[in-house]
């Protein structure tokens, strides 16, 4: 399972780091993203819409992304 810890990073860094991580992974892979930036959840949803990925929020700072 892939984990990406972006706690402490401000927007847009969590999404940039996620995009870099995703580019190296096979389609269908699950990534757990940790981020405490308030812009992460809205931006993650917008990114998923633009990049046709699936995302969900687990708790305030934990998110799952299916590549």
């Amino acid at each position: 399972m892939h984990r990406l810890d972006c706690r402490g990073a401000r927007c847009p860094l969590p999404i940039i780091h996620l995009a870099q991580e995703v580019s190296a992974l096979h389609s269908g892979t699950l990534i757990t993203l940790f981020s405490d930036d308030p812009a992460t959840w809205p931006d993650l949803q917008a990114w998923a819409r633009m990049r046709e990925k699936k995302v969900r929020q687990i708790d305030a700072i934990t998110f799952e992304v299916i590549v």
Partner: protein, 371 residues
């Protein structure tokens, strides 16, 4: 020296020409300098507007007439009877008067779209309320409600320019936030409304509040008399603002066409020549407002680098806000909140300034994305 008329009152213009605002060609921010016509009459308006309009002395009576003439200008352009128009020295107070003023009477629910201004969100915390979610285009489903309910919405969203959803079936009382644009017609049914003088390049520090449905309304402020609003506005600003609105309306036909054409040019350019952009403003939004976000771009650096190239832009991204929270409007719409740019097109915006701003934007985004 020239002159300007407001009703039957003549204002002497100051020395110097009614010039263009040459220094602001790179400004795409929501604020704009005072309209030259308003600036020119301001000094004369100050000379005529120092008295207390409620007193009986001659200067007071003259000022009272001038304010009536200003009210007539607002009433005509906003298509509401003159007696419903009130001046406010603090624009934000209009939200409280227009919303809380109807609350005391009813025990219903206060409905408001998630894209409402902060003042509305703050008032919602003081009463039984229900937030209305919005879709990607900023539209919300307005419930029918009951006659005891209250609804507040903006006819034009101040960030994206999105038009309001039709609220024609709502049964309760309606407050319209018209602070983003003076010329978009209000829906046929409303009970109170608020405009901001700055949205027509009038002086800051003046709100226009209209109250149509007085029988259901109670002044929410502590008071000893029957006045509907506190009298603490500057009469000279009200006069200058009326002159600015007249001028704004006169220029509207040209600027509306111009804004439409710049708006499509900007949309096309950011999509085709820059790319990976999420345009938050719906296609049919008010043409003078345009909000879009660039994926993987830090807005603070973007705004800073554009400023260094001579272009002032606004942003709704978290890193550009005082509290480090992203724009609640973009978040509510499900739009990308980072890398956001918000443009306001003004009557002085030129083809050349749009083209050079877009070229600068493209090169700054390329720099930031490759860093």
């Amino acid at each position: 020296m020239g002159e300007v008329y407001l009703g039957n009152s003549r204002f002497a213009l100051g020395e110097g020409s009614v010039g263009t605002m040459g220094s602001v060609t790179g400004a795409f921010t929501s604020e704009s300098p005072l309209h030259p016509a308003a600036r020119e009459v301001l000094l004369d308006a100050m000379d005529k507007g120092w008295a207390d309009p409620t007193k009986l002395h001659r200067p007071s009576r003259e000022l009272s007439i001038l304010l009536d003439e200003s009210r007539a200008v607002f009433g005509r352009h906003f298509q509401t009877p003159v007696h419903t128009i009130h001046f406010l020295g603090e624009v934000s107070l209009g939200y409280h008067l227009g919303i809380s003023g109807f609350r005391q009477q009813s025990h219903g629910t206060f409905y408001y779209p998630a894209t409402s201004r902060h003042e509305v969100l703050a008032l919602a915390t003081t009463m039984k309320s229900q937030l209305l979610p919005v879709d990607l285009e900023g539209r919300s489903d307005i419930p029918e409600g009951s006659t005891a309910d209250l609804l507040a919405f903006a006819n034009i969203n101040g960030e994206t320019g999105a038009h309001a959803t039709d609220a024609g079936n709502f049964l309760g009382t309606t407050f319209i936030d018209a602070t983003a644009d003076p010329l978009t017609a209000l829906p046929s049914r409303w009970d109170s409304a608020l405009w901001d003088s700055r949205s027509w390049s009038g002086p800051a520090g003046l709100g226009i509040f209209a109250l149509r449905e007085e029988s259901q309304w109670h002044n929410p402020l502590p008071r000893l008399d029957q006045l509907k609003v506190p009298g603490g506005f500057n009469p000279a600003l009200a006069i200058a603002s009326a002159v600015a609105l007249d001028a704004h309306v006169a220029e509207h036909e040209r600027t509306a066409q111009q804004n439409k054409s710049f708006n499509s040019q900007i949309r096309r350019f950011v999509t085709e020549s820059i790319g990976d952009v999420d345009i938050a403003s719906p296609q049919d939004a008010a043409a003078h407002l345009l909000s879009f976000s660039f994926l993987y771009v830090d807005a603070e650096q973007l705004i800073d680098r554009m400023e260094r190239r001579g272009f002032s832009l606004d942003s709704g991204s978290a890193c550009t806000s005082a509290n480090l929270e992203p724009s609640h409007v973009l978040a509510a719409m499900g739009r990308l909140t980072h890398g956001n740019v918000r443009l306001t097109l003004h009557s002085e915006t030129t083809e050349e300034s749009v083209r050079s701003m877009l070229d600068a934007l493209k090169s700054v985004i390329e720099e930031l994305r490759s860093a």
